[in-house]
């Protein structure tokens, strides 16, 4: 045990001698988590902001803008065409809704109108804005559609004596339609599955968990570089001629890095809970289980990789590349549900996938230890397989 602790102390001192190491250990993970985990939201209004260009200035466009302002998902701001397009081209805004001059009730009565929603590419906010705008358009157009249908029906039974009387009928029907739509009963009851206390999905939780896994996996896979460095410098050979078994050396090196990673995750979890108000504290035992098993799986992968790489530079390069690819494919950067079915299935071969699922079970589904047992068991399985391969190859050092 003393030797293991001595190796752990040596590695920790070596690693944290350079102040730059603190950038990777704490500063960058906190920076990325804060930025992507929603920590920068200064406004109390969390709705997605977008611009509306009202070229019609009609009662219909006013009704649409009122409907958009009532939305729980999006927040419109009316701008001139030039200002809106300028900001859009500078990528300062996710989408711009352009209401053309002919956006009037009369045009709808006559057959319909098109409105343009200009969106930035690769922008999920733009997609959400599209949904919000569609909902508002449906509500506004429905009243006009109902009034137009009623008027047509009345005209079929008895033609109107004059256009004024037809318009009066239409206006009265439109008023009725607005009133009835406003009083329409709720036909949909939404229930969130698997959560006892109605935990709402929080996209910030997804980002925070994903960033944590990314920033912990990369340095742990970078264990491979540490092995390669010691091999290159000759210190590994010197350690192994001492009365220190290979098992002790491995245990000290790997467990030391895993403990450091666990400490790093605890700090990030604390940051997430206190600053970003994430629900890590809901299930501390489950959180601890996922943290430890994830660190073991990553450390084992780094150990295995360390027996394949020849130089420290190779190890560093591969750890960044493999860490980033595994994080991305495991759903740490983008929600896994967005992936095609084939990719979703293939991702289950990665430890990052199961780490992410375990953290989402805690943060989003509000599950406890029982809910993350499967993920923890699989992560331990990964750790075992990687360790067996790594130790088997290390025997021949």
């Amino acid at each position: 045990m003393n030797r293991i602790l001595a190796i752990f102390r040596k590695d920790t001192l070596l690693r944290f001698t350079s102040p730059i190491e603190w950038a990777f250990f704490l500063i960058l993970p906190i920076f990325f988590t804060f930025l992507l985990g929603g920590g920068t939201g200064s406004s109390s209004d969390q709705r997605i902001h977008f611009f509306v260009v009202d070229q019609a200035d009609s009662p219909l466009s006013a009704a649409l803008i009122t409907e958009l302002e009532r939305s729980s998902a999006v927040r419109p701001s009316v701008m001139s065409y030039e200002e809106a397009i300028s900001e859009f081209n500078e990528r300062q805004i996710s989408a711009v809704l352009i209401l053309p001059p002919r956006f009037t009730i009369e045009t709808l009565q006559a057959g319909g109108v098109e409105v343009e929603l200009r969106q930035q590419p690769n922008n999920v906010r733009a997609f959400a804005i599209q949904q919000g705008v569609n909902t508002a358009l449906t509500r506004v157009s429905s009243a006009v559609d109902i009034a137009a249908a009623s008027t047509s029906r009345a005209e079929l039974i008895t033609p109107f004596p004059s256009p004024d009387q037809k318009q009066a009928f239409f206006n009265a029907a439109l008023e009725d339609a607005y009133a009835q739509l406003k009083q329409a009963p709720q036909r949909l009851a939404e229930v969130s599955a698997g959560t006892e206390d109605k935990i709402q999905y929080d996209p910030n939780a997804n980002s925070a968990a994903g960033q944590m896994i990314t920033w912990v996996f990369i340095p742990l896979i970078g264990l491979s570089a540490m092995f390669a460095m010691e091999r290159q410098l000759g210190t590994l050979r010197r350690v192994l001629v001492t009365p220190t078994s290979k098992a002790t050396y491995l245990a000290g090196t790997v467990l030391g890095q895993v403990l450091t990673a666990v400490l790093q995750m605890v700090i990030l979890v604390g940051f997430g809970a206190l600053v970003l108000k994430l629900k890590w504290a809901n299930a501390p035992a489950a959180t601890a289980l996922i943290i430890v098993t994830s660190a073991l799986a990553a450390g084992a992968l780094g150990t295995m990789l360390g027996t394949f790489v020849k130089t420290e530079a190779q190890g560093n390069g591969l750890s960044i590349m493999i860490g980033m690819v595994m994080a991305m494919m495991g759903g740490c950067w983008y929600p896994i549900e967005l992936f095609p079915a084939v990719i979703r299935s293939a991702a289950q071969a990665l430890p990052t996938y199961w780490s992410m699922q375990g953290m989402l079970d805690i943060l989003v589904r509000g599950q406890g230890v029982r809910g993350v047992l499967l993920e923890s068991a699989l992560l331990l399985g990964f750790a075992l397989v990687f360790f067996i391969i790594g130790v088997a190859r290390f025997k021949y050092e």
Binding site: S18, F24, L28, F31, F32, T40, G41, I85, R91, Q92, V115, E116, R118, P121, N122, N123, V124, R125, Q130, V133, T138, S141, S142, V144, D145, I146, A148, A149, R153, A154, A173, D176, Q180, L181, R187, L188, A189, E190, V191, S192, A193, G194, T195, I199, P203, Q314, N316, G317, I320, M321, M324, V325, M328, E337, L338, F339, P340, I343, L360, R365
Partner: protein, 420 residues
């Protein structure tokens, strides 16, 4: 002679870096793999039209209504129109459906209770308005996007049903008030009006939403045209810091001193090394552009404009590499800081997602990175722009590079590096 020495030193460094397999992993293999991965994630390689991999969303349907509207709802979710998007399953037990959602087998369960149709289409014998009956949408919280899509489809259906019902009511109430129909005609007229409205809403709304990505109509945008430059620019920072690192490595190993005692001035040595970094950066970007164009059939845009943008981005990035080398003391420090800068610039510059999703102050801050300007230029080129659209990014990158070079030269000379 001077130029020849510059190029000799530059080509020497270029050869060295391209012989270093570990450097090639991060210069070429990593951006390529990440671009490939992102393309797979977004369904780009599966021929998806939506620039998203969302398809075959699993949904459980339980229809206890057994009447017109319940059947219509099930028919809609199982229709051929939604075949590519949804993977519906018809179940009979609501509890089993909920349990399956809890087990993450479905993105949601839609439970249509008994009496749903009767609550909307009352029987003629009914005197009082029917009590509203709600459809239960049991959502999987770990699949918010899929559940959101299902909810939007369900809400659209329920919205059309409600509009049809109200159309019938409004038509009847107005016709009765104006004396156009009598009370015993009300039911017939109301049903007919509602059915007609249902058919017209199926055909589409009178307000049609057209989505575009640039003025003048919809443009088919290749999502890889966003991802590929993002990854190329991010790993460009690794390349330039690796090259800058070589300056300190040569200083440590003594090869720099040997070069300086040859008939080569310190300016030529430094200039050659900077040129080497610049050429390496250009080569990296051109290989990635060529590779993605050939393998993924990616259209980067106007070739001349792409080359000009590549030169400008490489110039600015090289400036950053030199300023990092000027301030740091050891190759190890440069390697660590280089990796950190690579990731930060990648995030700020929009390599992972559109930065309009980030706060304004972050978007302003991102302008210090060559990534942000490079992304702006490459995106505009991918949308079909020519030389004119890259003018601003190119000028910004050249100014950035020039300022960084001046600062780096000043600091390096103060340190006495490469001094004879």
């Amino acid at each position: 002679m001077t130029t020849r020495k510059l190029f000799q030193i530059a080509l020497k460094d270029l050869r060295l870096i391209f012989r270093d397999r570990s450097a090639l992993v991060l210069m070429l293999l990593a951006p390529f793999l990440l671009t490939l991965g992102m393309g797979a994630i977004t369904g780009r390689f599966s021929g998806s039209d939506t620039n998203s991999g969302v398809s075959d969303i699993p949904v459980a349907l339980v229809n206890q209504d057994g009447a017109q509207l319940g059947d219509a709802l099930v028919e809609m979710f199982t229709s051929a129109d939604l075949d590519a998007l949804l993977a519906p399953a018809l179940l009979t037990d609501p509890a089993a459906a909920r349990a399956a959602v809890d087990n993450d087998e479905y993105a949601a369960a839609i439970l249509i209770p008994a009496g749903f149709t009767a609550s909307i289409i009352p029987s003629p014998a009914q005197s009082a308005p029917p009590h509203p009956v709600q459809v239960e949408f049991y959502a999987n919280p770990t699949r918010p996007t899929s559940a959101g899509i299902l909810k939007a489809i369900l809400e659209a259906f329920l919205g059309r049903v409600e509009v049809s019902r109200i159309a019938g009511q409004v038509t009847v109430s107005r016709l009765l008030e104006d004396g156009i129909i009598s009370a015993d005609q009300a039911v017939q007229v109301g049903m007919s009006a509602a059915e007609e409205m249902a058919q017209s809403t199926d055909a589409g709304s009178t307000i049609r939403l057209v989505t575009t990505m640039e003025g003048g109509g919809a443009v088919a945008f290749d999502i890889l045209a966003y991802m590929a430059p993002g990854m190329a620019l991010m790993f460009l920072m690794f390349t330039v810091t690796y090259g800058a690192r070589s300056l300190l490595v040569e200083n440590r190993q003594g090869t720099l001193a040997r070069m300086l005692i040859s008939p080569t001035t310190s300016t030529q040595v430094l200039g050659g090394k900077v040129l080497g970094i610049f050429l390496t950066a250009i080569t990296q970007l051109l290989i990635l552009i060529g590779g993605t164009s050939l393998l993924f059939r990616l259209q980067w845009g106007n070739p001349l404009a792409v080359v000009v943008l590549v030169l400008a981005a490489a110039f600015a990035a090289t400036g950053w590499g030199m300023i990092i080398a000027a301030f740091l003391k050891t190759p190890g420090q440069i390697a660590s800081v280089g990796s950190a800068v690579m990731l930060i610039f990648g995030l700020l510059g929009g390599s992972f997602f559109d930065i309009t999703m980030l706060p304004k102050w972050v978007q302003t801050l991102s302008k210090v990175s060559p990534n942000a300007w490079g992304m702006e230029g490459f995106l505009d080129l991918a949308r079909g722009g020519g030389m004119a659209v890259v003018r601003t990014p190119v000028i910004a990158l050249l100014i950035m590079g020039a300022l960084l070079f001046i600062a780096a030269s000043f600091w390096l000379s103060r340190r006495g590096l490469a001094r004879q």
